[in-house]
Amino acid sequence: MSESTTPLLEVEGISKRFGATLALSDVSFDVRAGEVHALMGENGAGKSTLMKIISGNYQPDTGSIRISGSPVTMASPRDAMVVGVAIIHQELNTIPEMTVAENLATGNEPLRFGMLDRRTMVAQAREKLARVGADIDPNRPIGRLSVGMQQMVEIARAVAENATVLVLDEPTAALSRTESQQLFELIRSMRSRGMGLVYISHRMEEVWELADRVTVFRDGQLIGTRDMRASGPEQVGPGDIVKMMVGRDIDDLYVRNAHQSGEVRLTVRDLTGPGDIGPVSFDVRGGQVVGMVGLIGAGRTEVARLIYGADRRTGGAVTLDGQPLEVRNPIDGIKAGVGLLPESRKDQALFLDLSVKDNIGMSTLPDHSSAGVVRNGSLLTAVRGVMDQLKVRSNALKLESRALSGGNQQKLVLGRLLLQKPKLLILDEPTRGVDIGAKSEIYRLINEIAGTGAAVLVISSDLPEALGISDELLVMRNGRIVATLDARTADEESVMQHATGVYDDGATTNETAGTAR
Amino acid sequence: DTSTGGGGGGDGEVEKVGLMLQDISNPFFASMQDSMEAAAEEQGFDLNVQDGRQDLAAQNDQIDAFIQQGMDLILLNAVDSSGIASAVARAEAAGITVVAVDVDAEGAAAAVTTDNVEAGRQSCQALVDALGGQGNIFMIEGTPTTAPQDRVKGCEEVLAENPGITVVARQAGNNDRASGLALTTDMLTANQDVQGIFAINDPEALGADLAVAQAGRSGVTIVGVDGSPEAVNALEDPASNFVASAAQDPGGMALEALEVGKDIVAGDAPAERVTLLEPSLVTKDNVSSYEGW
């Protein structure tokens, strides 16, 4: 890294206002050749907004952008591509009806004699996918791929743009450890080729692993930039970064009480589902937090949905507190005392146009209505109670949930589940895309719920999190449980070995009460 | 070229007849259908009735289908007299005799229609007479097709001779009761000083009658055209403001067209291509002697 040379990209004095929200306030920032510059900050701090500005998506209200020293204006995503800025957005931006190859070519379709050249399109797609090490058939409709694989396609597209600056906005949110490692390799190789990379993540350990510099945002303002390669008195630790982000210390992120593991509440025996899932068998005890880990597409989400009744089972038996749990739909699931926090907040859980109150109360309306008429007072009391528990300010009650940050939105969904008072709570990626403050809140809540004696099953692709909050870990691969580990003693390496199938006999595995197979 | 059925050959027999009506939901055309069905029963020919639903292109398709079925005779009540010309030409080319009913059709071998201009004149004259040649009136027109337009034309001729009458508002309806009611309601609001209403047919006129009654107005005289059964009821009702209708005879018109058609098929074309049937004015006074449809 030569600090003397002109940065690849510089922004100066950028401000951006959305209606009444000041999303960015007088921000200056740069990216140098051959570095990974990480951006951190809570939900809504303005990270994505700045990245959308440097990739031509939004126009700044004030401020200037320079590429290799010369000022540019970027009126559209295309302009940014032309000057060599590529971006992988936080939200998936695939076109579900199209094939992988078509998605990769969108906006820049190869022509031959003025006509579409499909053969070249597919060949180029193969090339782009190979470059990121993704073995995906270019002719498959992208909508049929799991979110993680779609994310890999997006990465392939961005990397192939011949960009000098590449922005990755939470690229690993939908990836599990192995895919993430693959991506990190790629990032390192791009860095060594002299590209400048901007990396946004809520996962501290990733930032630690990759970043040369870290810049922290809070409430639209740049709090500071730290050189991660510095040593001596300049050296920064994770605590410093967290403090910059949230303005105070968070000592212990993960919460795991010495739970009173009670009676077995959930038993799952030889559960099978469509798409080659199962047979799966395991137990969850009251007051126990069981983590479920595995690679993308390992089948964790599917198992959760089968238990809840969101999908039809093809076989097996499930009992809750000794009663057969026979569910044909989520209504049955909820009645039987199962609560599910779905994997995708926006697509499967939130009603963005509805108020906070409605979002929280939606599943428990029957408890607060007589003859179909909602008893507003009783509903409000219940919702207020949960909002207190979640530490969401009650003046948010009537806000559209659209207006909340990702972390707060996730808490609304949790609140909905809390009102159901479930015997079994299944949380599918509960902290995906959630900032560190909200994360610690959510961990505290999970702990509290387990403390009330409920059985809790947590699916997570964030390994440190899974290890940190669970009592027991189920490792899934190819639709089956391949290992059951004691989360207190297991380490990331052993979990990954099980998850990928690269099992090493010497690894520390602790047999526990659960069964795997 | 059609090869099946009895059509096209000029064998003089009428075995298959196609009847095309512009809108069967109007009792006027339904009455044509009734009389033709009775005739088919009695005379033993096949009858295929199609509704144009006010769509020229649909009528084009219907003629094509009739050609396909080898009709001997098509009685055509066209949505538009000129717009149907090319389809008529195709039918004639296939050797099918086409006789226009109620609305003349370009290229048809013959036509039997009411003299709609005269109907407009009669009805309008009745209104002018009822008002004593003085007053303000509404004119409720219909869809932009020839029959309604001819009636308006006839009425305008009468009005030209009666400068004491002023048209204070004119709106176009859909030839039906609902639009007569809706338009008149609003026109009455805008114009307090009105004594008469001319509507191009009975359904609109009766809708206007309802509107006048609802508005609680009196002294508004209403006339229509058709002589429909509903109109007869209104004429017989002393409380109604509806006083006159230029009556046509749709059933008789269709039967007349059938006869003309049969003659042509038999090689005996009428002297005049167009047979004009005179309307007759039905009023409150003479309604008791009116036979009706």
């Binding site: 809570e42 939900n43 212990d252 559209e400 702990n447 | 805008a190």
Partner: protein, 339 residues
């Protein structure tokens, strides 16, 4: 691992911070425009008409407008529920016809008036439920299902009457078309009752919440334990029942059974719903907005007739006003962008 420091109640976590005041303000403005935007459009229209059209601003004419609006407004009320579920119902005009025809036939056959009325509403509800069943259980696109039912129901209305209108001058329920209560036309009274019921259903009942949830995010609604199919079925059934009520009024107004009744009304009703601020994408909108939308259309038609504008210019003006109104209304999106 131990419980951590920051759980002290007096130290709320940072992500529980309230949205900045500025955000709240923006969303208040958006909220406000959301609710009154289209109302302003209506006021402008009324002011314009009052200035131009003779007798526009009279009590009689206000009553006329209300009466002539009632049918479209009632259709639109039912449609609002369907559109809130992200559906559409093109068949309401045809349902109006079948229900209107059915009720007149019942009345003419000597069925007591209240039963004939009930029969009409029931016919509408059944026709709507059929739509809903196709949409909910076979998951067919609502647009095409109701395009189909719009067609077959129209055919049914004709075939019930053998193709011809049936005049029934002494209809038992002629009052609900032409009568008045304390100077207010009965159709207007019925309209107010219908809106009261629909307002209550949407704003005060569980079903109402479910309608918004299903329209806002169907998958989330299903996972939240809502019986999505039943909600859809009910929505279409309600739209059908409302169309049935409209059919009764129509029949009573024209004192006859008309197979052509309500032809094309679905488009005016949809226009009323959308002008009233309900999103065709579902999940967003209010029933009272629909009423305002229907009144806009009614005022426009009335004013143009009062002005004695030839009907084809009326069409031009009406089309242009619809586009201008929706464009003005869409300003709210720009003010909402702030949140």
């Amino acid at each position: 691992m131990n419980p951590i420091t920051d759980t002290t109640p007096d130290n709320p976590l940072p992500d529980t911070k309230p949205e900045p005041a500025a955000v709240r303000r923006g969303s208040v403005i958006a909220h406000w425009w959301d609710r009154v935007g289209i109302f302003l459009v209506l006021l402008i229209l009324i002011a314009l008409m009052a200035a131009l059209a003779p007798n526009f601003l009279s009590v009689d004419n206000a009553i006329n407008v209300a009466r002539s609006v009632s049918i479209n407004a009632i259709l639109a009320a039912g449609l609002t529920v369907v559109i809130l579920t992200a559906g559409i119902d093109l068949s309401v005009g045809s349902i109006l016809a079948v229900a209107g025809v059915g009720s007149v036939l019942l009345a003419v056959d000597g069925v007591p008036t209240p039963l004939a009325l009930l029969g009409g509403i029931l016919i509408g509800a059944v026709a709507g439920a059929l739509n809903g069943a196709f949409v909910a259980w076979l998951a067919l696109p609502a647009f095409i299902v109701t395009l189909g039912s719009m067609t077959y129901l129209r055919g049914l209305a004709y075939s019930l009457l053998d193709g011809q209108p049936l005049v029934a001058s002494d209809l038992g329920f002629r009052g609900i078309g032409n009568g008045s209560v304390a100077g207010i036309p009965q159709p207007v009274v019925v309209m107010v009752v219908v809106y009261a019921i629909f307002w209550f259903l949407l704003e005060r009942t569980r079903f109402g919440r479910h309608v918004y949830a299903v329209g806002g995010n169907m998958e989330a609604a299903r996972l939240a334990g809502i019986n999505v199919k039943r909600v859809l079925l009910s929505a279409y059934m309600l739209a059908g029942a409302a169309a049935g009520v409209a059919g009764l009024i129509f029949s009573a107004r024209v004192l006859s059974a008309q197979p052509t009744a309500g032809q094309g009304y679905e488009l005016d009703a949809i226009a009323a719903v959308v002008l009233g601020g309900t999103s065709l994408a579902g999940g967003r909108g209010r029933i009272l907005g629909t009423l305002v939308g229907a009144v806009i259309i009614g005022v426009l038609s009335n004013g143009l007739i009062l002005l004695d504008v030839p009907f084809f210019y009326q069409l031009i003006i009406k089309g242009v006003v619809i586009i201008i109104a929706i464009a003005l209304d869409s300003l709210k999106r720009f003010s909402r962008a702030g949140t």
